[in-house]
Symmetry: C2
Amino acid sequence: MFERICIVGVGMIGGSVARAARAKQWCGSITGFGRHEAGLKRAVELGVIDDYQLDLGEAVKGADLVVFCSPVGTFEDLFRQLQADWSPNTLYTDVGSTKGSVVAAIRKVFGRIPENFVPAHPIAGSENNGVEASRVDLLHQRRVILTPDEDTDATMLKTCQSFWEALGAEVCCMSVDHHDTVLAATSHLPHVLAFALVELLRSKEDEQELFKYAAGGFKDFTRIASSSPTMWADICMANADKIISLLDDYKQSMDDIGRCLQTQDRDSLLSFFEDANDARRQYLEQLK
Amino acid sequence: MFERICIVGVGMIGGSVARAARAKQWCGSITGFGRHEAGLKRAVELGVIDDYQLDLGEAVKGADLVVFCSPVGTFEDLFRQLQADWSPNTLYTDVGSTKGSVVAAIRKVFGRIPENFVPAHPIAGSENNGVEASRVDLLHQRRVILTPDEDTDATMLKTCQSFWEALGAEVCCMSVDHHDTVLAATSHLPHVLAFALVELLRSKEDEQELFKYAAGGFKDFTRIASSSPTMWADICMANADKIISLLDDYKQSMDDIGRCLQTQDRDSLLSFFEDANDARRQYLEQLK
């Protein structure tokens, strides 16, 4: 339970964290910070936050929990602004999709990772943006990955874990590097691939009217290409090395498939598809 | 209205065609043909077909409409078996996802495309297989592409169009080549990409437990990787040239994105994502 939560960036995720914290009665009041007043006003109207500040220092004043929910590209600047007033009694956590870059940003400013900053990543999202898209149940039964290190304060870590669990999430801890490796494969790469497919079709659209004949498979496959370009450009820049390595692996797969097609090697292609099909079946079973 | 429809291959699509034909009262009776008796029995139990035959010649006897709904890889063999009894008064159509290969298969057997064969492709599907997955409304408001040529009998073509429209579909005509180009981009390539992503993660799964942390975006992106491997290996073989060409374009996109990541060229990546995001927005608007 916190007296005062400050949500830095009241968009889809920030708004959902605020809604859930209130619903689970884990806070007294919630203050929002952001750069666009219209969105913050709307968040107050929707009852997501109690009030807001356009000045970051004012926004975090008296907060015993600060949750960074803005795009990861903004973090270094935010940490710099907060450095002077960083409070040892406040728990700081975030929702950034890349953890290496977040940790690097805070290290750059503080020279180390403050013991009361617990990097976090709720694996939950939506292709819709803004506070209007926030949902009280976004975190329900979703995983939240924490990436503490040996300097993280044990009590702060425990409080942070309890907070995310109270919001409905299943919490686990792993290293920053493992987090970024896993998310590059399961989230960042798929987003890149979806953007790339839509862009490829767009480049051929004029002469061929491709989209007119795209069916349900295409629609689902490309849903994530409706995600925020800014947010995803930031994520890709922040986790570039891991994504580059996976793109190389993926191009290798394209080459292998291309060779099967070129040589009409149906057996190899079938076996490739069967392995994938089987792996997805196992993935679906594990979800149950 | 047909006296007797023969559905060759009573799976998800064939079963849906049968269900809709019956619901729209476009047939007297429906006979199914297949190689696996259990599935045909189940189709009778479900009321999808009235009866079945395991002998193709018997199955088509007296049918005034034959719809080929088995995997495209089986077509040449089916045409060969039917050649002797090919009836000039019967309309033959199909649901194959590739049209070049279907037309090539029938040409190989008959030396030409019979004037009463109207190649068709309903752009509707599901990752689920078998007659149990068939639905009376599968074709509702979906497109069906016909690829007749100058030899196609005009009356047969008109009847074929009316049939698919009666089943709820919006029918359009285009050339075989245009069909295969469009479908390679909007359907075949996405399936290949989805299979390839799941397979890539599977190959790294043991050490990293990737699937455990895969969220909704991954699930939707890879839904089509739960499609039938056999059917998709056949489709890929049948439309290999077009898919190879798109894979080359796609690898080029991977290279471009890789370069943006390598050089931390956020602006170019953002612009790439924005174009894709915008194209998908337009695609969604057109669906309304």
